[in-house]
Subunit: 126 residues, 2 copies
């Protein structure tokens, strides 16, 4: 499994949102929030290419980067391994934590209800 570090993840997130960006595009997108040097971002791009997380097409001298792994896949894999490590594999206690900190909103609850409904439907139809 490809391991993506924290700083690298920020770069991936830019490219998950809009693909085929040049290094400078990525720098521009990131340096709004982050206070990173251009060289830092280029290092991260390089490392991500080495790791097989990004590919690129050449556009003259510059590269246009794109993700080689889908954000959803990454989220699934990370979610599973995180919940495994920290919550012994049970997701409900994590949600309980959010609830206890008032970090659930109506949207979340709506989505959760739908998930539960679907799950029960699935059970029933077995």
């Amino acid at each position: 499994m490809i391991e993506i570090s924290n700083a690298e993840l920020s770069v991936m997130q830019v490219l998950w949102q809009r693909q085929l960006l040049s290094a400078n595009d990525v720098v521009a997108a990131l340096c709004n929030d982050k206070d990173w040097h251009e060289k830092t971002v280029k290092t991260l791009l390089n490392r991500l290419v080495s790791k097989g997380a990004l590919g690129f097409d050449k556009d003259g001298r510059a590269y246009l980067y794109y993700p080689l792994i889908a954000e959803q896949d990454y989220q699934l894999q990370q979610g599973r391994s995180f919940v495994e490590r920290i919550f012994a594999g049970r997701v409900a206690p994590l949600v309980a934590g959010f609830a206890s900190q008032n970090k659930l909103n109506a949207d979340d609850v709506q989505q959760l209800k739908q998930l539960i409904a679907d799950w029960e439907q699935e059970q029933h139809h077995d």
Copy 2:
């Protein structure tokens, strides 16, 4: 915020389960599953003490270790920061991932329903 590494976390988990264990107790508890050298576990104990995650009482020449941070606090903090990083702060998509991989069981669903009921109760009583 205290940062606890992966290997260190395994040590913390032993001490969250039973406090006031000697280094050898921790080694014994861990070396059932993990294939770690005794020295490795002692290094981890040391690092955790340095980080302020563990304290100890002396028992003669040996130390008896105990956690200085509660597992629940750690879980809350990690849960929030993980969901923030990977899921833009929304917990429902993480649960959706579990559902999609058939990693929800009846217990989880029961707990989630209860959380939702409590949440709605809370809303209603505002």
